[in-house]
Symmetry: C2
Subunit: 617 residues, 2 copies
């Protein structure tokens, strides 16, 4: 529809009115942060957004992300105006069971029109970068990605990672709209209404920047027009607004953040807005023309095959398998944080350069790009050193709320990386990834396992994490062996095992060595390859406890908390008197630089330590 | 000392030579990334750094942080040139047991001249912001904070958080030196040698920027001179360099990242550098004049007192106690991420505005500022919503390697925050914080406990985390009660307890309600307030298992992994047949918006769920 200044104003006031009504009905929420952006969103919804509300997952849709998720009431008011939800549902805001949550959430808890959960600030734009990159370079669709940001969240470094990468990749289909309302939660922002500085920053990061009065609908319209005509770079609209704009006693008032208008004041507030009837409905433009050129071919995954006994690092098998997945599945995309020659993602890059996204050293953007890519149907595999995923834990956490399907591959786990020292050693990544809702956590010890699990990962829902090892290790399994998420392998066993030793990654190889050393002395142990931590193979563990003298020894290249031992121990939580004795070998002191096997010995997680533990039983 | 162009060049070549020698001796490391910055660091060490190497922790020292920690060989070569370490020690680089680690590490593993561990990129400058803020505003010392950054790490958002805050606080004592050598690990950076863009970005963030040829020692000297004269803002020196500069076959060569010069090429390389004798020693300028004006007074902490039964939120008690700590200890500093009216850090702010640092919505900078503050003897308390500390997990992890003493306070834990929904609910923070090496994890259920534990926290070493609750809850304990890190409280017990219910935070109150409901039916349970998760009160837990029918019920407002249950379960890991039956009530489905007690019920972690669990035993 082609709006007029009056129609835009009327719609904006309805959006304000609905934001006030819904939050006051809920008794909490963010009307003031919604009202500042109402004019910006009215013009967008009326004239610029191309979105088929009857087909929200259509890859040809524009995308609208409220990076300032607390302005959710405005977003829901837009959905109402677009006839996507009813006024009755709007008024269920913040109630248990409602899809209209306090911050936007996708299905199943929330709405199909919400692509990603927001509410932890500074994550919408980096996600938008992932979507826009895919639209521009993979699907070659003419869609636009519109991201509404608050000015407070411009303080988040993640926003500047997105500015940087958006500029670097000339994402002319990406429009950042900064709702510069000057007031944060507890008071003024750093820059207040100094839109010139925001503009300078955006330009310095390679963006086309436009300063406007965000309450002037004609200026807003002109800005979108200008944005639509920019063909070589992303656009940043810096819109000067007033928080609570439209109602005199809320507008630009400090202390009105996150507060519903008291019931007694609602009538007065709505009167100032001209008592909108709430019956405006907008016929939103449908999808733009064009068909996606991205390939969605599906073939058969042919995992790489490794000769038994040869030494190959699991991180290298990750690269081999990723490349093989690339051949089989057109929607597999690899992303890496400037370490692709260490994670071996560069094997994929060399084979499928067009489906490889380099995000440089910006791990928050790495995960957010993956989240953006899966919004538009890609299967993203994001890789960096396992330690550095800690940089993006909040993005991963939010991804779980968004119910994203992404795959994360962390290389260089544990002390066994050696000389580089503790800063590069992931020793808490398993704790982090296990704690993510609905996550899958894999930790192969062998390249054959790695290759097989990669075939499972590609179709696994949720956030799937694979931990790999820097060191080259002997191939343990032939390509005939099968592996599954939730499985494990009994590598060694006998009729009279004194204990079962449970390892993963490099410690499994130490367990095998220990078993061989002990066997030479006539002592037998079971050795279990616990390559899947979450879900975990309860049956095999319980059988081991029963059959191995009720004794388990867990050996892991990880801190004591949150890794293999906590995972195994949880299996036996309710077992009471049937609980095995569990001995735990793990990293307990801060490691230093050193040779990998020196460090395994120093941490007492090597074969010698296992042998000593078994003998001391 | 006052150097000359020739002395600077000679020193630079010695630094290069020593970087090559030490890494080639180690067989790994980063000579090329060291060589690019050798001229920059030679002039700095010779003429501009004020640092008493015999008294590294003197608060009056300048600070030098290698944000590009992989250039550690250069840093160690500087220490050698300053006679702080011997050539023999330099050659222990990367060996186990050496203080000369692959990336810089402070004591006890590393060196006293290293203030913070680096190696995860983009963290040096934010730490420098904390130090510079303290020097400028608290201690009012004329020292300088010099931070050497790589150009690759300019992609990290955390760097831009530091640029932003450094500019905002006019930190004219902070100098960022960008070693723009054009090449990252796997290839060219985004911006290559485009120093003009780095300059524009720095200026847009409020910095004075200087572009120079970083291999021209006279230009470097002029830049430091210019930087010394800037009195109103921080300074960014963008230095164009060549990676591997000084040796023709390494300089600006792709693929020479993180590689020692092969033994066969060392002689040739050193010859190109003029075969430095390695005997140059620099008399580094001592501390600058001035005495710190920051108060270091120590009085007696007078914890706030609450009336029994009144309802007060633990987050509010955090604010009360923080203010009381501020009165008692002059070195207590509060930092907050723009939510001080929610975390109640604003109580401290109002009382001691000069010791309150607002870092706006930049949680990475929040933690890094705390790390910087403790470098110079402050006791920083950093607060934000518990969920948002996930944003800074990598900084926290690195802080553990640095052996920092910081206090982190996360408010708004769990589903009980209510209507705001999942994005604001910390449900994995305990898993995260427990996995941090040497951490202390506290989770008070009552304001009296909160106030008491705050008195313990201030002097507790390492990273101390306190989780607080949004909801107001009844005061359980009188001010006479004592609490200690590693302690717990038995809130209810009888001679015939059917089980022990273990809770913390809001779930403890649910456990108490459940006990009352059950008591009315003649069923007795023990209730344990597990306010210290790490360290944990093993004795009380073991006694409870023995005395309460060998049955423990753990109730927590957290995901299943990494919280109370894993902590308690770990206590019994080795107990075999004496292991209690442990039932676990925790959050298992993605929560939505709703009223706090509706959400506790929906998650089945409320009193009714506890009652049902006890009855089903």
């Amino acid at each position: 529809m082609a709006g007029t200044p009056q129609s835009w104003k009327d719609l904006a006031n309805q959006l304000r009115s609905d934001s006030i009504r819904s939050t006051s009905h809920a008794g909490s929420g963010h009307p003031s942060s919604s009202m500042s952006a109402a004019d910006l969103m009215a013009v967008l919804l009326s004239d610029y957004l191309h979105y088929d509300f009857s087909d929200p997952h259509n890859v040809k849709n524009d995308r609208l992300i409220f990076s300032k998720g607390h302005a959710a009431p405005l977003l829901y008011s837009m959905y109402k105006a677009a006839s996507a939800i009813t006024d009755a549902e709007l008024l269920t805001l913040r109630q248990i069971g409602s899809r209209i949550e306090g911050h936007p959430v996708p299905e199943p808890n929330g709405l199909p029109f919400v692509d990603v959960a927001t509410g932890s600030l500074g994550q919408g734009l980096p996600t938008g970068v992932g979507i826009a990159w895919s639209a521009k370079y993979l699907d070659k669709l003419p869609l636009k990605v519109w991201v509404l940001l608050g000015d407070s969240e411009m303080a988040e470094g993640s926003v500047w990672e997105a500015f940087e990468l958006g500029g670097h990749y000339d994402l002319n289909n990406l429009v950042a709209i900064i709702d510069m309302n000057r007031l944060g939660q507890r008071g003024p922002t750093m820059l207040g209404w100094n839109s010139e500085i925001y503009k300078q920053r955006a330009e310095a990061f390679g963006w086309h920047a436009i300063e406007i009065d965000g309450q002037d609908v004609e200026a807003v319209n002109a800005a979108y027009q200008e944005a639509s005509n920019v063909t070589d770079k992303p656009v940043c609209i810096v819109a000067k607004t007033k928080k609570g704009a439209g109602v005199s006693f809320i507008a630009d008032v400090e202390g009105y953040h996150g507060k519903a208008v008291p019931a007694a004041d609602v009538e007065k507030a709505l009167a100032e807005l001209g008592n909108p009837k709430g019956d405006i409905r907008v016929q939103v433009n449908g999808c733009r023309d064009g068909e996606p050129t991205g390939t969605y071919t599906t073939g058969t995954y042919m995992p790489p095959v490794y000769e038994m006994g040869v030494k190959v690092a699991t991180r290298e098998a990750y690269g081999d398998a990723l490349k093989a997945l690339g051949a089989a599945y057109g929607h597999v995309v690899a992303i890496d944080g400037e370490v692709s020659n260490s994670t071996f993602a560069d094997k994929f890059k060399k084979a499928y350069p067009e489906r490889f996204m380099e995000v440089y050293i910006a791990e928050q953007q790495l995960v957010s790009a993956a989240i953006g890519l899966q919004v538009v149907g890609k299967a993203p595999f994001a890789s960096t050193f396992a330690a550095f995923f800690a940089r993006a834990f909040d993005q991963i956490r939010m991804g779980a709320i968004s119910r994203v399907n992404i795959k994360l591959a962390g290389s260089h786990a544990g002390v066994s990386i050696g000389e580089d020292g503790a800063s590069q050693m992931a020793l808490e990544d398993l704790a982090m990834m296990r704690s993510v809702h609905g996550s899958t956590v894999l930790y192969p010890s062998c390249v054959t396992t790695t290759a097989a699990l990669m075939g499972e990962m590609v179709n696994c829902e949720g956030i799937v994490y694979m931990r790999t090892t820097r060191e080259k290790l002997p191939v343990l399994y032939s390509s005939e062996e099968t592996f599954s998420i939730g499985g494990s392998k009994v590598v060694k066993s006998s009729a009279n095992d004194k204990a079962a030793v449970i390892g993963a990654g490099i410690t499994l190889h130490e367990a095998i060595k220990a078993a061989e050393m002990l066997a030479s002395e006539g002592i037998h142990i079971r050795v279990i390859d616990l390559y899947s931590l979450k879900p975990i193979d309860e049956a095999t563990l319980k059988a081991a406890a029963k059959e191995c003298n009720n004794t388990l020894i867990i050996v892991e290249d990880h801190w004591a908390e949150g890794g293999l031992a906590d995972a195994v121990n949880a299996v036996f939580m309710e077992s009471g008197a049937d609980h095995p004795v569990i001995k735990h070998l793990c990293v307990t002191e801060m490691p230093s630089s050193g040779k990998p096997y020196e460090l395994l010995a120093a941490a007492k997680i090597d074969a010698a330590a296992i042998v000593a533990t078994v003998k001391a039983l």
